[in-house]
């Protein structure tokens, strides 16, 4: 996966030092990830590393090895204001000592009831914050509830996270779909996530990347519609018209912003 991660079609490749790594292999994993970041030419994907949480004995060593290797982002598990701020202090020191060319960004994994209730403060805790990620398995465990295929039990968390991310200008990344075989369920659930404001989704298997990307990428028709609408808007602007009619519907600023957002997404997905 380290070697092939560049060509799987994902926007971001997350290399894991936390739950996927046995306690006896933490040292080997962080050295391997560090060397991979230095050696593998990741040109089609951004890189992130999920470090160990603040309440573990590993996070400082993780940062010491990984930050100098300059991944694009760190995934901070069990995110809290305290975790972000304590880790940022250590990271700033490392970046200063190593003369880092870029500041590593934070992807904040929300996986407890307390974190969910504290979400606005967490979202605003650092200028490095780039996204809120929902970890529904740990969140459900914290809540003492069972996960179901329908996901009703995590709806509050999903709505809250997507709304907060939007309010603070961050990406909202949904929890992974854990049924490896149910492709139809993955697509349906991902369409729901998109409909409530998520901008992406974690994938736990390469086979999930393509269906998830297809849901979040705008369709060819949507792109063409956005281009036509923006052309009409530009024409109206030149004629000094603020609100105008397009295909029988009134067009005002929110509609124009949505069309621009469609084109931005298309561009970032390589569709334009």
């Amino acid at each position: 996966m380290l070697t092939t991660g560049d060509v799987l079609g994902a926007d971001v490749l997350i290399l894991d030092l936390e739950d996927a790594v046995a306690l006896s292999e933490k040292d080997a994993a962080r050295i391997l990830v560090r060397e991979a970041l230095h050696s593998v030419p990741f040109t089609h994907v951004e890189t992130a590393v999920r470090i160990n949480p603040l309440d573990s004995p590993y996070w400082q060593e993780d940062l010491a090895e990984i930050v100098p290797a300059q991944p694009d982002a760190l995934v901070i598990p069990k995110a809290s204001v305290e975790a972000v701020q304590q880790m940022e202090k250590v990271i700033e020191q490392i970046e200063k000592e190593k003369g880092a060319e870029k500041k590593v960004r934070f992807l904040l994994l929300i996986e407890s009831a307390r974190s969910l209730l504290d979400l606005p403060r967490i979202a605003a805790s650092s200028e490095r914050n780039a996204a809120l990620l929902l970890g529904a398995e740990d969140y459900s465990a914290d809540m003492g509830i069972e996960r179901t295929p329908f996901g009703k039990e995590i709806e509050y968390a999903r709505f809250t996270l997507a709304t907060t991310a939007r309010a603070y200008g961050l990406d909202a990344i949904d929890t992974p779909y854990t049924d490896m075989e149910d492709r139809a369920g993955l697509e349906k659930d991902t369409r729901f996530a998109k409909s409530i404001g998520f901008t992406g989704r974690l994938c736990i298997h390469p086979a999930h990347i393509d269906p998830v990307t297809k849901v979040f990428n705008p369709t060819k028709e949507a792109i063409e519609e956005a281009i036509a609408l923006l052309e009409a808007a530009e024409k109206a602007r030149q004629e000094g018209i603020g609100v105008f009619s397009y295909k029988g519907k009134m067009v005002d600023l929110p509609v124009i912003h949505r069309a621009k957002s469609v084109l931005d997404t298309a561009k970032s997905g390589g569709l334009l």
């Binding site: 070697t3 050295i31 391997l32 060397e35 230095h38 050696s39 593998v40």
Partner: protein, 87 residues
């Protein structure tokens, strides 16, 4: 860095290598087996020796079973096993 005790690292999975290291007193004794030894054996040995040199390991016996590991994997496995043997 001295090799104080035997240690192991890595695995026999594809694209990885399994590394064992032992204390020794007469320089670097390297044993490498690989399905691509004919093509890349000398290069892989150089990667191992360079890594040991960078870590200032002067004496050890190191045994590597390669399963198609790239250079960065070999480097990281050797570094880890040396650190484990030094602790």
């Amino acid at each position: 860095m001295s090799i104080a005790k035997p240690a192991i690292c890595g695995s026999l999975q594809s694209n990885d290598c399994f590394v064992r290291i032992y204390p020794a007193e007469t320089g670097i004794e390297l044993e490498l087996s690989s399905p691509v030894y004919k093509q890349f054996g000398k290069h892989m040995e150089n990667v191992v020796r360079d890594t040991l040199k960078q870590m200032q390991v002067a004496n050890c016996r190191i045994v590597i079973e390669d399963k198609g590991a790239l250079d960065y994997t070999i480097r990281s496995r050797v570094e880890t096993v040396v650190k484990r043997a030094h602790e």
